[in-house]
């Protein structure tokens, strides 16, 4: 990275000679224009094009027939209803669980807080299927707990199981949201209420809860979108309970009906995007709690048994279930068939680490490692453009950047398959060859990296935006005033200042890339095997042991990466004042 874009930088220092400033047609910062163009083009290719293609196919005659029959055709109506039902149930339960965990964490007095916090975060780094397969092993028809221990005969396949598994998988989203919000609630409000004679319970219902309404609404909406977009669990646990995502998957991979897949995707896209929009631009504006504001003082922790026992009890049950699920994953990887034949074996791990499965492990890690820095930097770059460079178009760029996450993965995956399985031709000219599918360049690896980037850059973008909004814009202008162009300013001033956000962006990017499934199943190829879709194959074939081993190794890879990254960021050459 050199400053070759900076002609005037080489001008004599004294400036005593009249500066022969190259006065071109425009004095606008050319590097900025270039940056915006490059970023916009990238975004267009990795999210814009697939979405446009999916829209054109869904709105073709063939696709439109299915879209328009969504409410008239009883089968389709059922699927739509199933999807909404699942979304609402998970959103309600997940928010409730998240709230209980967050409230316990912030307001209750007990030992082992840190541990409870870690347990509550565990599902975030978890691969899909981990919870589902563990749940089947523990609570299925032949489940260790449900059948062997309690003698019950539960059918976990269908709505019940889905709600259980999705709630356990997604509640951390709501936990994080509500925890941050509870922490920033000003305790003096509680003190004021108490001073006016309100009891603890009265304070909770009349002060705390109303202040949290926007946060609760926000996490309800987020969970709703996450659960209607989920593909992995309906595939494994759905049984006869078909939702839009699994229906679209079936259309594309089972019936080779791309138009049908596009049509179901469109129907899924509409509620997902509208809820996302409402969440972002309406709920977040209603937010009365300033999330960044530091509370004045720390709240008095609650010791009253009337509140403490039920809340802590619930939190412990949830934490117990989470631990149980992951214990199952770890234990299940070391026995022949967990619950049936509990003999110790290393064959599952051998399969993943040294056998046929190792291929997927290496490829996935490699592609995630390629995608992570791209996604992290792109996310920061977009955040910087949105916060401090763009004016009128900043909302648009923010929105497009977030699309990779707000659009359900199934939709992205089908969009990629439609857009990139064939060479990209626009205006009668081929722009680039097929990048997705078995016959594509690099065995389709490029499309997978693109999907990883699209899926994971929004987290970095959001973290970056939050961090940048804390930085005084004058710092940026000071750099400009001293002769730096936009890109130099970003590289030398902005990036070092938002390093923590970059770190969390990179972490998210890697974790997401490693664990994403729904877009991948549509574009993975025999040459480029991806772990998550290999897990799906193992689960489908009933080889849960292999799936458990895959999941455990995936978690280890993600955690090691996070650890290494944190270590690297502590290195003096990367952090801190550059002492000379």
């Amino acid at each position: 990275m050199t400053d070759t874009l900076l002609p005037a930088a080489a001008a004599p220092v004294g400036a005593s000679t009249p500066s022969p400033r190259p006065r071109r047609r425009s004095g606008r910062d050319l590097t900025l224009v270039t940056l915006v163009t490059v970023v916009s083009l990238l975004l267009f290719v990795i999210v814009g094009l697939p979405l446009i293609r999916i829209l054109t196919v869904a709105l073709s005659a063939e696709g439109w027939e299915i879209v328009s029959s969504m409410l008239t055709n009883p089968v389709n109506r059922r699927i739509l209803w199933n999807t909404v039902q699942l979304g609402v149930l998970v959103a309600v339960l997940g928010t409730a669980v998240g709230f209980v965990m967050a409230y316990a964490q912030v307001r209750l007095k007990f030992r082992g807080k840190k541990l409870l916090h870690l347990i509550a975060l565990m599902p975030i780094v978890s691969p899909p299927f981990a919870v589902a397969t563990a749940a089947i092993t523990m609570f299925g028809r032949n489940g260790i707990i449900s059948n062997k221990l309690l003698g019950l005969d539960i059918d976990i396949y269908g709505l019940k199981g889905l709600v259980f598994v999705l709630t356990l998988s997604f509640f951390p989203v709501s936990y994080m949201n509500l925890k941050g919000m509870l922490e920033s609630l000003d305790p003096s409000l509680d003190e004021a209420a108490s001073n006016l004679g309100a009891s603890k319970l009265k304070i909770f219902t009349s002060v705390t809860l109303p202040m949290l309404v926007p946060g609760i609404a926000g996490s309800f909406l987020l969970l709703f979108v996450e659960s209607i977009a989920d593909l992995a669990n309906p595939l494994v646990l759905g049984g006869d309970y078909t939702v839009l995502a699994s229906r679209a998957y079936l259309a594309v991979t089972g019936e080779y009906n791309v138009a049908g897949g596009a049509a179901y995707s469109l129907v899924l896209l509409v509620p997902a995007l509208s809820v996302f929009l409402v969440q972002r631009y309406w709920v977040s504006r209603k937010n009365v709690v300033s999330v960044t504001g530091k509370p004045a003082g720390s709240p008095e922790l609650i010791t009253a048994p009337a509140l403490r026992i039920p809340i802590l009890g619930l939190a412990l049950v949830v934490a117990g279930l989470v631990v149980l699920m992951y214990a199952t994953v770890i234990f299940g990887g070391f026995v022949k068939i967990f619950g049936v034949n509990n003999d110790f074996t290393l064959s599952h791990y051998r399969f993943v680490l040294a056998g046929i499965g190792s291929d997927a492990m290496f490829t996935t890690t490699l592609l995630a490692l390629v995608a992570t820095p791209i996604a992290g930097l792109l996310g920061m770059l977009i955040a910087w453009l949105v916060v401090s460079k763009l004016k009128r178009t900043s909302g648009l760029m923010d929105f497009v950047g977030m699309l990779g996450l707000s659009v359900p993965g199934t939709v992205i995956g089908i969009g990629y398959a439609i857009a990139f399985n064939t060479p990209t031709i626009l205006g009668g000219r081929q722009w680039f060859p097929a990048v997705a599918g078995g016959s594509a360049i690099l065995g389709g690896a490029m499309a997978i990296v693109m999907v990883f980037v699209a899926r994971s850059l929004p987290s970095g973008q959001r973290a970056g935006i939050a961090a940048l909004q804390q930085i005084n814009p004058a710092i940026d202008e000071a750099s400009t005033s001293l002769g730096a162009n936009s890109f130099t300013t970003f590289r030398k001033v902005t990036l070092p200042l938002i390093r923590p956000a970059l770190l969390s962006g990179l972490t998210y990017a890697f974790a997401r890339s490693m664990t994403t499934l729904s877009p991948i199943v549509f574009i993975t190829t025999p040459q480029t095997k991806i772990m998550t879709s290999q897990i799906l194959a193992e689960v489908d074939a009933g080889r849960f042991g292999n799936a458990f081993a895959y999941c455990a190794i995936l978690i280890v890879i993600v955690l090691s990466f996070i650890g290494l990254l944190n270590l690297a960021m502590l290195h003096p050459s990367i952090r801190g004042i550059q002492r000379r």
Partner: protein, 398 residues
């Protein structure tokens, strides 16, 4: 804290800065920039897309001479920052021209303008040491690193910052950070130095000290300087000329003394210093002086060139030009006024006096105990004729 001595330095003792000869010579070696001439022509800025919206800056014409220290002064929201940021290039003018020497600057990107800005918040790079902050711009110029070190050391010495070169900005006091920001700007040898309320984050004593220091440095280096402030004391004490702005337009451009003594509008008279406005009858005007009657007497006062006999006028009398003396009068009429209240400031006493021409604020400097008056006292009220100023009452904005 060693050589930087943040001890208060009172204004009366206009002593030279606490600087030894190395500091002085360091300062001199910074002074090689050629000062620029800045010209603003019909400059206008409308924020947003709606061209019919009220402009933040309206038709500003201004010639800033090379080496001049010029201050933009006005109430908050009058467009000072907007004007400064257009000069720096951070805002694009909606209309009008900005020239540096003879070059049109409108289309030149801010990082290509040979100007340096000092911000209210200092805007030091928090992740860089003092040295690297100051070196930042020079490194961008691809200056050889030995030369950079030399230049930065000189700049730091000249600002008494030598011992702090390896500190992080947050480890320094506000005044020191301010000096770093100044050193960072000066080391670039800008043709124009821009300040946006640079002193408003400092405490009162340090502010007075920095005022003097910036002014002396500017004189020594001869750099064209545009300084934005809403503090009239700052403007009066530092500037060669003051530009008084109000709701986006320039009300007056003049030396501090002229602005104070001969304001061109009621707004300026009121904004700079404190003012009494008396309703007077004008008997006649000739050669810039007018005969008026007020407070029961005839006066000959200097008058604004545009004053006409029949047009609405007002007489400006500053509180310190009013003269009070004991009287036998026992009614508020003619030249007799009555004390409503008094406030003791130490170096002066301030009275509120009721007269037939309205209530007057009067300031009496260095009062002796036996010369003070009490509320209810009747006094003879007059003023220094030569210090009054007859001016038209235009249709003022607001």
């Amino acid at each position: 804290m060693t050589a930087t001595s943040e001890t208060p330095m009172t204004q009366q003792t206009q002593q030279t800065p606490p600087a030894d000869s190395t500091v002085q010579s360091a300062r001199d070696s910074l002074a090689t920039a050629t000062p620029g001439r800045v010209t603003l022509r019909s400059l206008r800025k409308v924020y947003g897309d709606d061209a019919s919206a009220t402009p933040a800056v309206r038709d500003v014409d201004l010639d800033i001479e090379p080496g001049e220290f010029i201050t933009l002064l006005g109430p908050s929201g009058c467009g000072k920052t907007t004007t400064l940021r257009m000069i720096a290039g951070f805002e694009t003018p909606t209309a009008g021209e900005i020239r540096l020497d003879d070059d049109l600057l409108n289309k030149v990107a801010p990082n290509k303008r040979p100007m340096a800005m000092v911000f209210q918040s200092y805007a030091l790079f928090p992740h860089l040491s003092v040295f690297d902050n100051v070196a930042y711009g020079l490194k961008l110029k691809k200056m050889p690193s030995a030369r950079v070190t030399e230049e930065v050391e000189t700049a730091l010495t000249s600002m008494n910052l030598g011992p702090y070169r390896d500190r992080a900005p947050h480890q320094m006091s506000g005044g020191q950070q301010q000096r770093v920001a100044l050193a960072r700007a000066l080391v670039m040898r800008p043709k124009v130095l821009l300040f946006d309320e640079p002193l408003s984050n400092l405490d009162a004593k340090l502010r007075v000290q920095m005022r003097g220091e910036i002014r002396r440095l500017q004189r020594r280096l001869g750099i064209t300087t545009v300084f934005v402030t809403h503090d009239q004391d700052e403007a009066m004490t530092m500037s060669d000329r003051i530009v008084v702005m109000n709701v986006g337009v320039i009300e007056q451009v003049d030396t501090p003394e002229e602005i104070y003594r001969h304001p061109l509008s009621v707004f300026v008279a009121d904004f700079i210093g404190r003012a009494n406005f008396l309703d007077v009858d004008v008997q006649g005007i000739e050669d810039g002086s007018a005969r008026v009657s007020v407070l029961g007497r005839q006066w000959t006062v200097p008058s604004h060139p545009e004053v006409e006999v029949d047009a609405p006028v007002t007489l400006l009398v500053r509180p310190e030009s009013v003269r009070l003396s004991p009287t036998d009068g026992r009614a508020v009429t003619g030249s007799v006024g009555r004390v409503l209240s008094s406030m003791f400031y130490g170096e002066s006493i301030e009275y509120d006096i009721e007269t037939e021409a309205g209530n007057l604020v009067v300031s009496v400097a260095d009062p002796h105990a036996h010369e003070t008056f009490s509320p209810g006292d009747y006094l003879d009220v007059g003023f220094e004729e030569g210090r009054a100023w007859l001016m038209p009452v235009g249709d003022e904005p607001q």
